[in-house]
């Protein structure tokens, strides 16, 4: 799945009929991807999500696409990829929100700088209370404990902590997408156990 590409000046706005056709063509897997991606982005935001749900993210992504505030070019990315890219952008905005900003109202007001390669950097540099640091330390320790015997997973987690992206990790380690997928799947499986009990708050 391609990331949402930066839009060109002459990109057209897809009309409601075209969007409806694209939705009808989406697979059960596409809907699973949207749900899990939105949910995981919000987990990464923790209390910065401000009560926003994955349904809120999706609804807002749709609104932006239909109103032309985010342009979907079907020749570059499918509709699922477009929604993923738009949710990514919104999560990035939420990560930059001032403490106390309400989720969706903030999203509505914020339209600048759609692409932020490392939204978490801002997220964790503002209002990091000792309690939040302690909770994060415990969650990280739990995840790393689960994966202590998995050298590849430990490598990936370490690289993420250093701010590396998936493509950068693959390139550095000369891994194929399948190699990376296999390792990351193991991390997701372990992370799920504490995701279901809490978030990055």
């Amino acid at each position: 799945m391609a990331k949402g590409a930066p839009h060109a000046e002459n990109d057209r706005v897809a009309g409601p009929a075209e969007v409806r056709t694209a939705i009808e063509a989406m697979t059960v897997g596409d809907f699973a991807r949207l749900r899990l991606f939105g949910r995981q982005k919000l987990r990464a935001l923790g209390d910065r999500a401000g009560g926003v749900t994955e349904e809120d993210l999706l609804s807002e992504a749709m609104k932006r696409g239909l109103e032309g505030r985010r342009r979907w070019d079907p020749s570059r990315v499918d509709f699922c990829g477009f929604l993923i890219g738009t949710m990514r952008s919104m999560a990035s905005h939420l990560a930059r929100a001032e403490p106390g900003s309400a989720g969706i109202p903030f999203l509505e007001a914020s339209l600048a700088n759609d692409d932020d390669p490392s939204p978490m950097d801002h997220h964790a540099r503002t209002e990091v209370t000792p309690e939040r640091q302690a909770a994060a330390r415990d969650q990280l320790a739990a995840l790393e404990h689960y994966l202590i015997d998995d050298a590849e997973a430990t490598l990936v987690i370490g690289a993420w902590k250093d701010g590396m992206t998936g493509p950068e990790i693959k390139e550095t380690l000369s891994w194929t997408q399948a190699d990376f997928e296999t390792v990351v799947r193991r991390i997701r499986r372990q992370a799920r156990s504490f995701n279901q009990g809490g978030s990055n708050a």
């Binding site: 897997g29 949207l34 991606f37 987990r43 950097d121 640091q133 997928e181 997701r188």
Partner: protein
């Protein structure tokens, strides 16, 4: 340099890395993971499809409401024209050009010389201005 003691930053990056991996993961893995989250994939597909299509319908309703408003506004302008005598229309156009000269710039040179215009020209010019969004309602009836 990475900061090993900024746990919140590091956890945020790890969880965000997991989110990004979902964007690229094979569908069959995601279906399995969705079930592990306690969500039935078919039910999720149905609910999410309904949410997305609902947004389309909402947008279409808004477009219709806006179009309805435009049509209503245009009909009001037309009512002003059809309910007005030719001389009154000429006076209205003259008043518009005098009080707000920028409107004169919105029409062709031919239309700016009112003495040369037929009643039909005046009506046509007023219709053009209405089409451009200029209000034809007299703002000062005492003039």
């Amino acid at each position: 340099m990475p900061d090993d003691t900024n746990y919140a930053l590091n956890l945020g990056r790890v969880l965000d890395g997991l989110a990004e991996s979902i964007a690229e993961a094979p569908e069959e893995q995601l279906l399995e993971e969705l079930q592990q989250e306690g969500i039935d994939p078919a039910a999720n597909a149905s609910a999410t499809r309904a949410l997305l299509l609902g947004a389309v319908v909402k947008h279409e309703q808004r477009l219709l409401n806006e179009a309805r408003e435009r049509i209503r506004s245009r009909r009001q302008e037309t009512t002003v024209l059809t309910g007005t005598a030719p001389e009154a229309r000429r006076t209205l156009l003259q008043r518009l050009f005098t009080s707000q000269p920028q409107f004169a710039e919105m029409v062709t040179a031919h239309y700016r010389d009112l003495s040369q215009l037929t009643d039909g020209d005046v009506e046509s010019c007023l219709e053009d201005l209405a089409e451009l969004g200029v209000s034809l309602e007299p703002t000062d009836k005492g003039e």
